[in-house]
Point group: D2
Chain length 488, copies 4
């Protein structure tokens, strides 16, 4: 899969959009500056907008901005408005909820007992159903985000202690959630009972950190402590750590696609290094579907590690036959019709001199709608490749994700409506092969998929969803809000 940014030339995304990144630190001077750095390292998990809430011992402060961290939160005036030694942040690509700053996290609520802020990576699959119940009890929602549902569940909980209210609320949720919360006295980390989304604990000179990935620890030189356990609610106070397991013990179902595409190559998740895993995927792919060719060319940048693994395993030269332009802004040109037909190459260009007359193996991470693959292949053929063989570093993605990843609806997924042979015709390659589902499991060091009790969430490949999908299955199929748009 090639991660086009927000606007493709056809106006539709041909990618699984990145989801969200969360980060928090408890007990470090200039906490919001540290959060800014952590979010910068997590920028690949959401480029649209970001927010930070800090607490200085008596008051909370909030800043939210549309745009890259490095363009918004690094201004001294912004950081100066975020004082305190505790802070949490969030970077997002919008998943549910309409556009607009009011859906940018962290969310903040003033409870009877004080303020509370929360950042969420994932998606709650019964949020709408719960929202309807809450509204009937008199709750007023100020956003269209599933995360606000959690705040209202806390506010309306009849338990006494705040941590009990929090647990009362999260245990009513279905779906995927890795949460970082901040109250006047606590920082709280929580993962859904299957641990679908990642969340790690780190330590910087005695200050605890919660982050989506380990690369956000590395940027500030923090030490990795451990991954939070599935179903763990971890409370951090001045007194130290305390864990709750309100769901008891459950077998984990971590998202396997984090290894394929979402996570940064230098992160380690659940004990595995992402770059090494991707190389192993490439090696496995070369073993499963070898090809007689002259060179291995990655579709940059996401296909690169698997391409290196493929080339090493296959004994073929690895070469940069496609050059990527990294300067693509948030939205690119809406060209006139005459220019659209020119077949503009905004993001990738084939390097003709490198591939002319060669038999090329293209390695990409996945195929979503297939339109990008078509263009890439055409571009490589136009540059004179003698043969083009496509190798995909994952199984066919045939089902939508409901756990915090923005996927096209299932019917738009190429693999949901075509056989591999038809897909080969569609993208016009000499051969096409995907990694097998068991091959993928082997690349993450499992013997294969345990179909009775799968080790990972692989719903996008198998359609086997590990949680209830109440909103989707119920009558509340769409979010029917009265408010069309809210600006300012």
């Amino acid at each position: 899969m090639t991660e086009f940014t927000s606007t493709d030339l056809d106006g539709e995304a041909d990618a699984f959009r990145d989801e969200c990144g969360v980060f928090g630190i408890f007990g470090k001077a200039d906490a919001s500056a540290v959060v800014t750095l952590g979010l910068h390292a997590l920028q690949h998990r959401g480029q649209e907008a970001a927010g930070i809430v800090s607490y200085d011992g008596s008051q909370f402060s909030v800043e939210r901005h549309v745009g890259l961290i490095g363009d918004t939160f690094t201004k001294p005036s912004v950081l100066a408005r975020l004082p305190g030694s505790r802070a949490i942040g969030h970077t997002r690509y919008s998943t549910t909820g309409g556009e607009g700053l009011r859906n940018v996290q962290p969310f903040f609520a003033e409870f009877a007992g004080g303020g509370f802020a929360i950042s969420h990576n994932g998606n709650i699959t019964n949020a709408l159903t719960k929202q309807r119940e809450l509204q009937k009890r008199g709750a007023i929602f100020s956003s269209t985000s599933d995360t606000e549902t959690l705040l209202h569940l806390i506010a309306m909980s009849e338990r006494e202690l705040f941590i009990d209210k929090f647990i009362d609320a999260v245990t009513q949720l279905e779906g995927a959630f890795s949460l970082v919360g901040l109250s006047g006295k606590k920082m709280i980390g929580a993962r859904d009972p299957l641990g679908i989304r990642p969340l790690v604990l780190g330590d910087l000179d005695g200050a605890y950190i919660l982050a989506s990935e380990t690369c956000a620890l590395d940027i500030i030189g923090a030490h990795y402590v451990r991954d939070l356990k599935p179903g763990e609610v971890l409370v951090i106070t001045n007194e130290g750590l305390r864990s709750y397991f309100p769901w008891g013990e459950l077998k984990p179902r971590f998202c396997i696609f984090e290894y394929v595409y979402f996570a940064r190559p230098d992160s380690n998740l659940e004990g595995r290094n992402v770059y090494e895993t991707r190389k192993m995927i490439g090696e496995q792919l070369a073993r499963e579907s070898p090809v007689d060719a002259d060179m291995v060319v990655p579709v940059p940048d996401s296909g690169t590690p698997a391409a290196i693994g493929f080339a090493q395993q296959a004994g073929l030269p690895f070469d940069l036959g496609i050059i990527r332009n990294h300067y693509v802004g948030r939205t690119f040109i809406q060209p006139t019709a005459s220019i659209r037909h020119m077949g503009v190459k905004l993001k990738h260009n084939a390097n003709r001199k490198a591939i002319e007359g060669k038999r090329v193996v293209l390695v990409d991470d996945s195929i979503v709608r297939g339109t990008t693959s078509q263009k890439i292949v055409q571009m490589v053929r136009d540059a004179g490749a003698a043969e083009v063989h496509m190798r995909i570093a994952s199984p066919p993605t045939a089902a939508s994700c409901f756990y915090g990843v923005d996927t096209p609806e299932t019917s738009k997924l190429l693999a949901s409506r075509m056989s591999i042979e038809d897909m080969r015709d569609y993208i016009k390659v000499d051969s096409l092969a995907f990694l097998s589902i068991d091959g993928l499991y082997r690349a993450v060091s499992e013997p294969g998929r345990d179909n009775a009790c799968p080790q990972f969430c692989d719903a996008c490949f198998t359609g086997d969803y590990p949680t209830a999908l109440t909103d989707r299955d119920g009558t509340e199929t769409t979010r029917t809000l009265s408010l069309l748009a809210k600006h300012g």
Copy 2:
């Protein structure tokens, strides 16, 4: 009183700041453009920010902007985002609640039964007490405005019908409120039981209008129908008008200061024309406190009508001895210390040639902290006036307003800590006189103040507050929010 805009040179306001203006129209194409014009006519009631909510039959749209209506809402792109034939708006000078766009009205809430928007002029004196109760029941507030309290009271009401919920909610409120609300089927106007703030009903080609003042009807050529009655809840639907009087019948206490200063001279409120009333005030003042002088000079612009009345009654020439610069922006220079000491005249300049050697009667509407009067008098003396006599077109303002007007705390009001003779010394005039309280009542065609049962709210002159002041009297003396500041 001289209405300085937001930042005086001393950084403190020496004025009763204007409050808020509300406007709504039900059943006219391009309703939001009509609201924009209505708010422009009400701009004197609040220059800081404005908002409009429109409804197009299926969805609500919201726009809120800081700045003057004519600079923000008149852009075609803004109006295009506000479709529909029903819309309400609000223009504000912030009264309660912190700064920031999230306190800009109209407020919008998504109830279980649909969307609802509301604009409020006035101030609810038990808002904080009610907010605490609501938070304990699980309500989450997203602003610091007293108006949001009303929305939560509606949401949590256990009545069945929406209009019953609305009445249940407003009857729990204390203080002053003129409200305009918009739901999917109704536009609602409501005045507090004493009718402290104004609200009029108009008609434009069959579309009903609610507005704070009649000048907002004139700008669009709408017809005045009537003032809403104190304690009236007026429901406008496609079927027509229906009124409710949930408080029964109460004697009104309309704000008499609307005549003195707030309202526009061309408006008619409760049957009286503001300009004519101000002229009568000036005439009454000339009868009560005549002076042997050469000319009558208004402190422009608010003192002008009374000065005309004074001059005509006294048989003295009326002359523009002080020229006002209308180009004062939202915030003016923070000059360096050296320049501050120059005694800069940003807003008024004495016209030396007109007043040199003359005995001048200065007519102003009120004295708040006295600092502006000092400067004006000094300026007139520096320009060579032989004598300076100050005549104030209202009684001394000795008490704060809690009904939607931003006043300095009582101790900052000059009249609360000085006798008239001391005030004369303080502002350095040859004579000083205020209108008597009975004289003020006579200028509005009453025989005098009925002390047993006063005809108006005149608390700023008398300290006689006509409603409970629960928040002030209770323990909730300050609004102790956890959230310091919220940007974006």
Copy 3:
């Protein structure tokens, strides 16, 4: 005349637009803050944009902004970028030249001998002809302003000393110019040989000031020294003042319209107070064209002083029968067709209660295209006036101004194509009278117009232009630039 701001509802201005204001100070700490105040007092001479150049003894700094002084130059960050004890400024309504920041003055040029900045009020009537000559000699123009022509004339002068170059340049100019220049060692003031536009010299604690009007001295408490003489080039250095009269001695022709409309009422120009002059104009008008009526109503604000004079002379009551809304922003609504037909009253509203059933004398300063007068009269009639009589405080304006005032072309001027009787019909009043040209001269204390050798420039009334109009009379009738638009 009623001064509508930039966009009338019909998209065309019905006013003589204000021209430009200039201000400079030499030898005062924080000079740019002083200039900011001076320009604020001159804001009525140009509301579109402003600029300041300061000099700190070694370097010049420039800031130019679109908008009101009070909204742009008062920011501490802006003033901090304008260090030094010498500074000049300019406020403008664009007269010649396209829109855009690059035409905002002061202009700055780097000469071989150092930097030089200049501000200009007026219009050079041979600028285009000179520009063509200069371009043929290799000059490159970076703006479309006539003022840049002067800079190139200085740069290409073959004289040795800078002051000689400056005089060489200005003596090649035709038209109207009041200039304030700033070099590394000097501040220079210069008026065209007829002294068409005003320029006064002031003194603030030993620092010399040049300003368009005396109101800009008053705001900072500076002393008025004298008006510059027509044809005077005044050089201010650390050594003091030195005057040059390169054109010898010429009879002055000061713009009489400055008294009628442009200047601020509290300014004194060429020894006359503007407010007193306008009152005398009103008195003269009452003597020339009396009317049997109940009240005198000014068209605010520009008609007010004449209306006061008219009322006092006629013994009629003066009343605010029309209320003006001062909150009109830079551009107002482009209403939809349906709303346009509502006859929206953005800027003025008749006060029905005050004028109903009355015979009203409306006093305005001038009539330009007549459309505004039509609307005002209609509005007053709609409010129930029994009779409407219009009295204009100047003679009919039948000819365009080429000396720095933005007038419609002659054919658009109502007085150029209609008799007074036809104009009366057109604006639909019961009677209409203008001040006579001799009456106008009498109001400025002359016995009448000396037709052989007129004492003022009155070309807009008489068509008698006191200078050559080379660009207009030559073949260079239009400015044929290659550059359509330049943004950024």
Copy 4:
């Protein structure tokens, strides 16, 4: 060399900053949209700002914006203001001249004969000397850019025809220049007599294109025609092409550093493919300075092609041991002191799992100040590398560039003040080797450097400057402008 964006943590750049890119098209509908795409492909040559001038047959239009092409010029409103079928553009990192939009190209001048716009890549080494001469003749400069000098030389040329004026002007210039100009009838391309900077001719459906690199042809599917010759002035009109060689025939001295670092890998310059050349550089480096190690790790992205070549030649695995974060914005955090000491890794992170315990060969393109290399090496050591060997894909850069590249002054260049052995100590590697100068020439398929008559400009390595450096050698050592700063 690692190309940090504008602000390093130490506030100083440790890179040769990219220079400028130029692009023009003559005779294609929506020319400015095509230029926008061309500039996007050339974004690596300048990320600070860009400009486009278009011509629609009668008028020129100009737009200039700070920021990336994809964020600024792709807005429909911007392109709509650039009509016409001919347009030229420029993308820049500021080389000479102060900051601010007025130095953003293309420059436009209104000559006596019409308008002319010009874009320039390179640097004119006698610009200041010429500017002084021109100012003495009366020229007024409106920017601090060397390119404006050319416009004035054209304007003041005494030749008759425009093309003769142009040639008269360019032949007075020294230094490096690849120019694209646009007049009412012509598009002109010109290269300095040594052809130091690149410029290629392309063709899109019959419309001629001039561009800095071939990658700007590829993005729109245009055909490469040829590189312009050194000293060629190519005139494109409706009649076709015409070339002038005003300097006669000279041996070229193309910038060899374009191959090492500046150009995009997929471009072909002077007949060589950049990616292939870099791979050959890596191979040559492996032959010259082999090392016994476990893996080859590129410093991404600029070191990657040479690292691939090195790995293939050396028979070592190529691995991504350092991960780059591409989301670094224009300016990043100015952290507090406490955070600065954390050793923040904004742009690169070592992938510990990949390199722990390994003997690593790091391949980078160059070393400038050495501070970045220090940090990278330290980061790799901290990640557990057993040995770190640095291989640099170019000779030591010991001299500043005066031909359009922003280099630190010579004394800041590490190679100018240290031996290779000292550099090895300084950056703390186990071994350090640079490519030899003859090795570099061999990688571009020359037998070696012809010291008598070098085939390339390699001044940054050898200090052998191929043109006069008049400004530097003369008394005009610094640009002493009077104007400190010019905003707006």
